[in-house]
């Protein structure tokens, strides 16, 4: 509670919290702010007003204008908030979970387990993050494009359950598969920092008296790990990791921008901005196709960064150098 109070006192983190609450509100109220058509098959597909190529400037019917293909920008920005939260939260959850498992195993058992796991982590770290995500996305899209049933489909169904709340009994929707492949690729190359930090923390708390004392009175491995080590080594990391939601949303938006994430016409900020690529010489006239969705991403990521930055200072001054160890 002390942490919350300190965050609210700090003007920058307060601004961040207000922004975040604003986005939560927009996400919840999306059906009211931008009501979908009754006939729409999937509310995340942005409704079109005709099929004309030229973007149209803001007018009474379309407050933020329309993009190429007459997709309503307001609708996309509003419903895109939901996509951003979903993508960001699910990626963060899974990457930290993987990092948690690998990091605590390595830190707790040490020896060759530690050696092997950390070498694997190192190999994944060699890959430049965005490049690796792009690469894996294109591989996964090829594989899913074939529609063969294998373990990858199970994986995607699990992810679909988490992200869209879709029952695993249902077949995967091609619209969703594109998003899921992007997310999977980010997850595969996103867990390493967490694993390293958690391992380091476990290594240091392992040597504290209370951990040794627990061992002396005969507590089991699992009990020591879960009752004594994890709460002290992991929770700060988890809280901080939750602030990475913004940067995951950024990476996913970059994939979408390149045409590898959400499909054309899906309510996703990165995808909406990608329309601007074909209008660069006339952007002065069509500024609204970049500025509105762009502002949405910037504010969203800024909000997380503001809170995360303050949290980093409040929670633990040692954490400032995270990721450079």
């Amino acid at each position: 509670m002390d942490v919350v109070r300190r965050l609210l006192k700090n003007p920058t983190s307060l601004l961040g919290i207000i922004l975040l609450l604003g986005f939560v509100f927009v996400a919840i109220a999306a059906p009211v702010i931008a009501p979908p058509a009754k006939s729409s098959r999937n509310v995340y597909l942005i409704p079109r007003d005709g099929f004309g190529n030229q973007p149209k400037p803001p007018n009474e019917k379309h407050i933020m204008g329309t993009t190429e293909g007459q997709y309503d920008i307001l609708y996309g920005v509003v419903w895109g908030t939901r996509t951003a939260f979903r993508v960001g939260i699910v990626i963060t959850l899974i990457t930290t979970l993987i990092g948690l498992i690998i990091g605590s195993l390595a830190g707790f058992y040490g020896g060759w387990v530690d050696e092997v796991l950390m070498r694997i982590t190192e190999v994944f770290l060699v890959f430049p993050f965005l490049l690796a995500a792009i690469t894996l996305t294109s591989v996964l899209q090829t594989v899913y494009g074939r529609g063969e049933a294998n373990f990858l489909v199970v994986l995607a169904k699990g992810l679909a359950l988490l992200t869209f709340g879709q029952s695993p009994a249902k077949d995967l929707d091609p619209i969703q598969i594109q998003i899921l492949t992007g997310m999977l690729a980010i997850i595969v190359f996103g867990w390493m920092t967490y694993a390293r930090v958690i391992r380091g923390n476990i290594l240091s708390v392992k040597e504290y008296e209370y951990a040794l004392a627990a061992r002396l009175i005969g507590a089991s491995d699992m009990r020591i790990l879960f009752r004594h080590l994890l709460p002290n080594a992991v929770f700060p990391v988890l809280v901080l990791a939750s602030m990475d939601i913004g940067s995951y949303v950024l990476t996913f938006a970059a994939l979408s921008f390149l045409g590898l994430g959400a499909q054309r016409g899906y309510a996703d900020w990165g995808q909406m901005i990608s329309f601007a690529r074909s209008w660069i010489p006339s952007l002065g006239q069509y500024w609204f196709i970049v500025v509105y969705p762009g502002l949405a991403i910037i504010l969203f990521v800024l909000a997380w960064n503001l809170v995360g930055d303050a949290l980093r200072d409040v929670l633990d001054p040692r954490m400032r150098g995270r990721g450079n160890d």
Partner: protein, 357 residues
């Protein structure tokens, strides 16, 4: 010096191991493809005849067990008809790129100069301005300037590269017409392609200087301004923070008080005593950022329509040309590993504590 030497040798020994591990990871991504999709690792144009595919799969053993295939992919395989060895990553063969209509290696050769030119022009402003801003921020700790720079840093850190790139294009190209996208204006690219103009490096700005064509140099630089800023601003935001906190730590050290007590001017205290020590951690970050340019160029080149490696990666990824994508990734990992090695060694030279670990 012997500790330094053993440090370097240790790092050198790890390099091939990491490289092998990277190839295994890349190969495992490759093995997710069907043999049909992997044929272009070895074959340029796949004949359209019926049954041709099956023949090729058999010929190159694309149905064999995975370890056998891995070995073949690494070392190459003998073509039973001609007796020539085909494929083989170790022999520099990364497969045939459908997107680039050439071997992946040829495409890299064609696309690298544009990327290298961009990186070359970005390196110095990126590191220099980033560090300068950080020092200014630390020296003016908690004053207005510091606050403004901190806000810049956190806001800058939140702007996606593609939004930033499009917005600078909106203002400086679409509205003002100052800095166009692409690599050269039409008239300049005609000159560059003519026979009088000798292409030494294929980097336009440098070739223009070597040919003594200042007009073309100016044109090339004009096209580089926006992409360079787009590539650098994120790192300015980050370097500012790193330099600032490192500088603040140093300014609070006892030896700084000593230096001031000796009666040195504040300017000298900062330049001679604080800066060299504060920059030690910044060196690694800065060097890693240069390597990180590989990440940044994908989006920057795509937006600014620069035919480099980054935009090639994006193009081939969209057309699901996995062979090209994996080839480029492999090449980038190689650069990265070597770059990291150099950074490690440099860091060992600068900071003796590292060697003793």
């Amino acid at each position: 010096m012997s500790s330094m030497l053993s440090f370097i040798i240790r790092r050198l020994l790890i390099l091939p191991l990491l490289l092998i591990a990277v190839t295994i990871l890349i190969f495992s991504m490759l093995s997710m493809l069907t043999p049909y999709e992997r044929v272009s690792l070895y074959v340029k144009d796949i004949p359209k005849r019926q049954g041709a595919m099956e023949g090729l799969i058999k010929k190159y053993g694309l149905d064999d067990p995975v370890p056998v295939q891995y070995w073949r992919w690494m070392a190459g395989t003998k073509n039973p008809d001609t007796g020539e060895i085909e494929g083989g990553v170790l022999r520099g063969n990364l497969g045939w790129s459908k997107t680039g209509k050439g071997t992946v290696w040829e495409v890299i050769g064609r696309r690298l100069p544009a990327t290298a030119e961009l990186a070359l022009w970005t390196a110095i402003p990126m590191i220099g301005i980033g560090i300068y801003l950080g020092v200014v921020s630390a020296v003016n700790h908690n004053k207005l300037l510091d606050q403004i720079l901190r806000v810049f840093s956190i806001v800058g850190w939140s702007i996606p590269v593609f939004v930033f790139g499009l917005i600078v294009l909106l203002f400086f190209y679409a509205k003002l017409g100052w800095f166009p996208p692409g690599r050269l204006s039409d008239w300049a690219s005609q000159v560059v392609q003519s026979s009088q103009f000798i292409r030494y490096t294929n980097m336009n700005s440098i070739d223009a200087l070597l040919n003594g064509r200042l007009d073309i140099f100016r044109d090339a630089v004009r096209h580089l301004v926006l992409p360079v800023i787009t590539l650098a601003y994120l790192d300015w935001a980050y370097l500012l923070r790193v330099t600032r906190s490192s500088m603040l730590d140093t300014l609070n050290q006892d030896y700084m008080t000593t230096a001031r007590a000796k009666g040195l001017s504040e300017n000298k205290v900062i330049r001679r005593h604080a800066l060299p020590n504060a920059l030690i951690p910044v060196v690694t970050v800065g060097a890693l950022m240069l390597i990180g340019l590989l990440n940044g160029v994908v989006i920057t080149e795509t937006i600014f329509n620069i035919p480099g490696m980054g935009s090639f990666l994006a193009e081939s990824a969209i057309s699901l040309d996995v062979i090209s994508v994996l080839g480029i990734t492999m090449f980038n990992c190689l650069i990265l590993l070597v770059g990291n090695l150099i950074v490690d060694i440099l860091y060992g030279v600068i900071d003796p504590r590292i060697r003793l670990r």
